[in-house]
Symmetry: C2
Subunit: 294 residues, 2 copies
């Protein structure tokens, strides 16, 4: 992040903001957007997960389970709003270093481990809000990071691509019922891959591999990566995202393009995404979502 | 296959049988069962795909697209029934070596390439049946290969495992609508992986990998592989199957077990599957399917 400090922000009246930063570059991009809007964020890094570059901002490091330390730091700075953003590995109970603050909130924490991923994050948010800190979405702090309707870059989806996009979006909605499916790769009414615990990058690598080894035989660029949030997914907590790495993966998988739910998917380093897609002849496009009312 | 020839079969009155053999060991196992029942099969091997061990039986080799040669061979031997079994790679039109027999059936063949996988096989079956050869399922010829209800091997699923099995079966049924999903791996209401074009073995390897690299954190044996046919899937053409390789993959993925739809999934080398599962402490069990009426 090489943006200059400060900037003519219009958000002076808004309360102090913290960013609970998971892995990857997203937390820093959101922090940059917050700073740009005149809202210097307080970063909470998770030891072993978060990029040390967050130290460019006011920050604290916590270990998984140091719940008391986290809330004490938020209270010290009168933090009233928090964004949770970046890759989070679901911890095992045995891995947690519970401090006293965790023990006093034990009942709520224990519940987290009896739910799916949606439930895990929702429970975490509930615990945070019980402390008087409002959990807000990265898209509220950094709306410029949201996918627009239409193309990023020069290519637009063809009519066939739009059929694939609609098919993929329907598939993802059907998977929502099972708290699964933030992504799928489809080609001409055919499902090539569905994302679950492995994540989007691994799914893309898999399609590249089965095309290379001949298990999946398609000519030229074929297939569309479709990404959308799960139905009922709390966008404050677990927003789908794409970035340059996603585009690189789509290029290696020889896809025709990447389709993302407009307003529901974050785009990291948009200009770089566009130039990478343009160079390879892929489209990257936001589509209106949900595909049907509801 | 080291079985002795002949055997006291009761099927002497049944018409000559051919087996169109894809890749893997399944065609040979079905051939062995047919021979055991006193019905010596005529094997059709696909160059580059089929195990040359089929040459232990009367046989012919064809290339993809040599449709005329295939039907001439069937006619020569008055073949009236054919099983299609084994791994098939969906060919690209450009890869086909079309012979005159293919050209005269071109309209039917062209249609195959405008459908999903179900459609591809259904179209192939229709073309074969138009020639007066009835397409039968491997399970009709070799019913002993079908999954039973209950455990193969010593372990039985726990109540939690049965909950996973039911959850996985519901997920697979939902995916059926999209002509996808013959397999999934679930653990405690959580979807870990969904099978699409990569196949079951690759899905198992992926779960092993994301457990090893820490992306997916689970303690001890966790998760159940659930396999069932797609709704509306023509079991004559594309029967789900498990074998020793599946069990090995499940062991490497540290699953608790493998659950298969009884009467709807073929089990290759059952005794070996059981011994491998027993040695690793996994269950392999058939469950009543469909989970709900319909």
């Amino acid at each position: 992040m090489s943006r200059t400090d400060g900037g003519p922000g219009a958000g002076g009246a808004r309360p102090p903001l913290a960013i609970l930063a998971g892995g990857g570059a997203f937390p820093l991009e959101v922090a940059g957007e917050a700073r740009r809007a005149g809202r210097e964020p307080f970063m909470v890094g998770v030891v072993g997960a978060t990029d040390p570059a967050i130290e460019a901002y006011p920050h604290v490091w916590v270990r998984m389970g140091e719940v008391g330390k986290l809330f004490a730091a938020l209270k010290d700075r009168a933090i009233a709003e928090m964004v949770i953003i970046g890759a989070m590995t679901r911890p095992e109970l045995a891995d947690l270093r519970l401090d006293w603050g965790a023990v006093t909130r034990a009942a709520g924490l224990a519940q987290l481990f009896r739910r799916g991923d949606n439930g895990l994050l929702a429970g975490l948010a509930a615990i945070i809000e019980r402390e008087g800190v409002r959990v807000v979405g990265a898209h509220e702090i950094a709306p410029r990071l949201l996918a627009p309707v239409g193309s990023i870059g020069v290519r637009a989806p063809s009519r066939e691509d739009e059929t694939d996009m609609a098919f993929g979006a329907r598939l993802l909605r059907a998977l929502s019922t099972f708290d699964a499916g933030q992504g799928a790769i489809v080609a001409a009414d055919r499902v090539l891959a569905i994302e679950a615990a492995e994540g989007t990058d691994a799914m893309l690598a898999r399609v590249a591999e089965i095309r290379a080894n001949g298990r999946l035989r398609l000519s030229g660029l074929a297939g569309v990566l479709v990404k959308a949030p799960k139905r009922g997914q709390d966008l404050r907590l677990d927003m789908p995202a794409v970035g340059p790495k996603t585009i690189e993966g789509a290029v290696k998988a020889q896809l025709r393009g990447v389709a993302i739910a407009a307003g529901r998917v974050l785009v990291l380093e948009r200009a770089l995404c566009a130039s990478k897609a343009d160079a390879a002849g892929l489209f990257v496009a936001g589509f209106a979502y949900p595909p049907t009312a509801g």
